[in-house]
Each structure stands twice: as C-alpha cells, then as structure tokens.
Symmetry: C2
Subunit: 230 residues, 2 copies
C-alpha cells in the first residue's frame, strides 16, 4: 500500500544508489580488490564467519579489510579487529541496510589504500529484506542462513536469495539439535535461485571452512583473470 | 544517506500510519479484542509460539485469531490454521514490514466478527528493524529473540526492543548447545529497555509456555478491566 508518489521516490533512491554502486565497483575493480557483501538475518553468523575468514587470509598473506554495518554499537568491529585486519564500523542510526553512499563516505574518511588490498568484505545490517535492494558495488553477494532459522526461509525471503551469488548454511554443528532438514533447505534455496552454489559451515567447529576459503580463492583467481583479460 | 526530502516523505508516511493505527486500536478496544503484535528476526520462532498459543487458547474457550505477514508464501498461515483458529495471510510483496493500512484492508476483506474474539495476534514480517516504526493498532508488542542469535542483538537493534512491551527469549532448549549467556542477554535487553519483562520459552519442549500464557491472561484481564473502568 504505497502510493505512486512513494514508489516513485523509492525508485529514484534506488537508481541513485545503483549509479554510485557502479562507480564504486569500477574503482574496486581498477584497484584489484575483490569486494564481498555478506547479507543475512540478525544472528546468522556473519561476524563469526568473517572473523575466521579474515584471520585465515591474513595468515596466508592475503590483504583483507572489512566494513561492518549495524544500527547501533561497534561490537562487530571490535570482534573483527581481533583478526588483525583493518576494520571500520558503519553505524547506520535507524537505517535498516547499507547504501552505496555510506560505503563511499566511509572509504573516503577511512583513508584505506585500496591498492594494497586483495579483498574487502562488507558485513551488511542483519536483515533478510532491505539489503537485497541495495547494490554496494560488490563483486560477490553472499547470503548466510543458519540451520536454526527454519528450512522455508528462502521461500519467504526470495529476493535476497535470488540476488546472492552463493548461499552459506551456517551453524551446521546445530543441525542435529534442531532436526535440520538439509534436503528441504536445499530445495527451498534452489526454488528461488536455481543452481546457486550452497556451502555449509560451522564457525564453532571449523567444519566447511576450507570449502568456503577454496570458493573464495577461486573467486579471487577468476576476478584477477577477468581483470587482465580484455 | 537520506536527503531531507526523503526524510520528510518518510515522516509523512509514519504520521499517516499512526493515525490509521490509532483508529484501529479504538476499534479493537471497542470490540473488546486484545491485539498482540509479534516481532522478531526471521526464524526466531514467532509461528511456533503462536501455533502453540492459539491451540491453548482454543482449548480453553478463548476466541483467538491471527493475521500473519510475510514477503511471500502462505506457509505460516497454513501452519497456524492447524490450531483450528481463524488465520489470514498477508503477503506483503516486497514490503519488509506490516503497516496499519494492510491490517485495515485485510480485516475488511476477511469479514471476521471482531466482537466474537478475545485476542487477535498479528505476526509481523521477520525483521528486527523496520516493523519497530509501524504501529499496527496493537495493545501489546511482543519481541522474540532466540538463544541462537547472540546475546548482544538487543544492543544492535535497540528500537525494536525499546518499543516492545515484553521480550521473549525463545528456543531455550538450545541454550546449552549454543552456550547461551542468560545474564549477558538480560543485561543487553535491560540496557535498551530498563525494566521490561523477560520470559523464556521453548516451543519444542513446552518449557516456559505456562508463564507466557499466564502473562497473556493477566494482560487480557487488565485490558478488560481498563475497558470498563472510566
């Protein structure tokens, strides 16, 4: 029940965001930084996965940094900084998602040398709805979905699963405790996004982390190849 | 971020919503129906709690019905209908929250006799951000928060915890498996909403359900009292 006027305003906000996002992506690509946007509902485990990922990349000499969005607090930035990677918190105030201009502003303030990085992760606000509509200039959108959320969530939040490049089922260590139905979850994800790659991880036990890191490495390689191939 | 024009439009949408919500609340109060708005992140267990609640109320001769909001699918309405209570699904399309005009429209189409009801539950879209800003004419706003989401979520999503009348910590059967820190969670909830009542439930084991049903009963009684007291 939005009026045509509201819909028109919303369209113009999205169009403005898309232009900014395209410029950001061109900048990231030129600097050789693969940018990954992590989206999920609150508490699906974005920060835990990201902390482990940053730690691993750093140990392997891969330059990575993170921008992390939350309505309030810098808890996540503090957690992520333990990995040793450069991290910056974006506090959105009331905003339920990140937008391209927030990324642009914070990058400018941060003074991070993009050229020195291999990967930049953006941890979005925990929300399965609104972040789906906002391109942040990323190359890769990763949707996380924990076994505790219920297998039908992809059917109920189709846009975010449809616009993601890969889905990660998290907290797989809890699968038995919550009687997680893997086939039903996979079917739900593929119903809204046929053929999307699905990974499984547990930040607690480390299960599946090597598959995720291999996936990321493949993306980095094909990104590098794509950049130098005309 | 947002231009003054966007903020102005948003304010006018909220003001329009508030007027509609106040009218709805007056109608609900006149009909003697206690209206409860359930909010949480996706997968926190709103539907499971509501199904058990509807079943219990029905068995005890208390007339209850439910309106349930989702971006897509009528899965939740189908689940809730198993309780035998009248249930209607609101599919919001792209909208990340329910608004008062959706409640008004669906009530009109539904043809539900409000006078015959004691309680009407509204299950909001799973989202810890946007539903906080939209009054639906409810008398009671209940925020659910599962032990798997992380104890600091109230600090990161303060508005929804601040605007709720009661907080329910759900999936308490998983507390040990996820090493849930009850004191930290309670402190986080009380930091953003001092003194709010906190209940704990498990829809799986039934633990805490009687406390929740007692709480609901107390609200019903004080609502009835309030209505007849000038």
């Amino acid at each position: 029940m939005n009026s045509p006027r509201i819909l028109e305003i919303r369209r113009s906000v999205l169009e403005k965001n898309d232009v900014l996002a395209q410029n950001l992506r061109a900048r990231f690509t030129a600097a050789g930084v693969l940018v990954i946007n992590l989206v999920s509902s609150p508490g699906a485990g974005k920060t835990a996965l990201l902390e482990a990922t940053l730690r691993h990349l750093r140990e392997n000499g891969i330059g990575a940094a993170a921008l992390v969005g939350d309505l309030a607090t810098d808890n996540d930035a503090q957690r992520l900084a333990r990995s040793g990677a450069p991290v910056r918190q974006i506090v959105t105030g009331g905003n339920c998602h990140l937008e391209a201009d927030m990324i642009e502003t914070h990058l400018a303030d941060w003074g991070l040398a993009l050229d020195s990085l291999d990967c930049l992760f953006i941890e979005n606000v925990g929300n399965l709805v609104c972040p789906a509509s906002y391109d942040l200039g990323e190359h890769l959108r990763v949707v996380l979905f924990s076994v505790t959320e219920g297998e039908d969530k992809p059917l109920k939040y189709p846009i975010i699963f449809n616009t993601a490049d890969v889905a990660i089922i998290t907290k797989i260590d809890l699968a038995a405790a919550v009687e997680f139905d893997r086939d039903a979850a996979t079917a739900a994800i593929h119903a809204v996004h046929p053929g999307i790659s699905i990974l499984e991880t547990s930040a607690k036990t480390g299960k599946g982390m090597s598959n995720w890191l291999d996936y990321l490495n493949t993306c980095r390689n094909s990104f590098a190849l794509h950049r130098i191939t005309p």
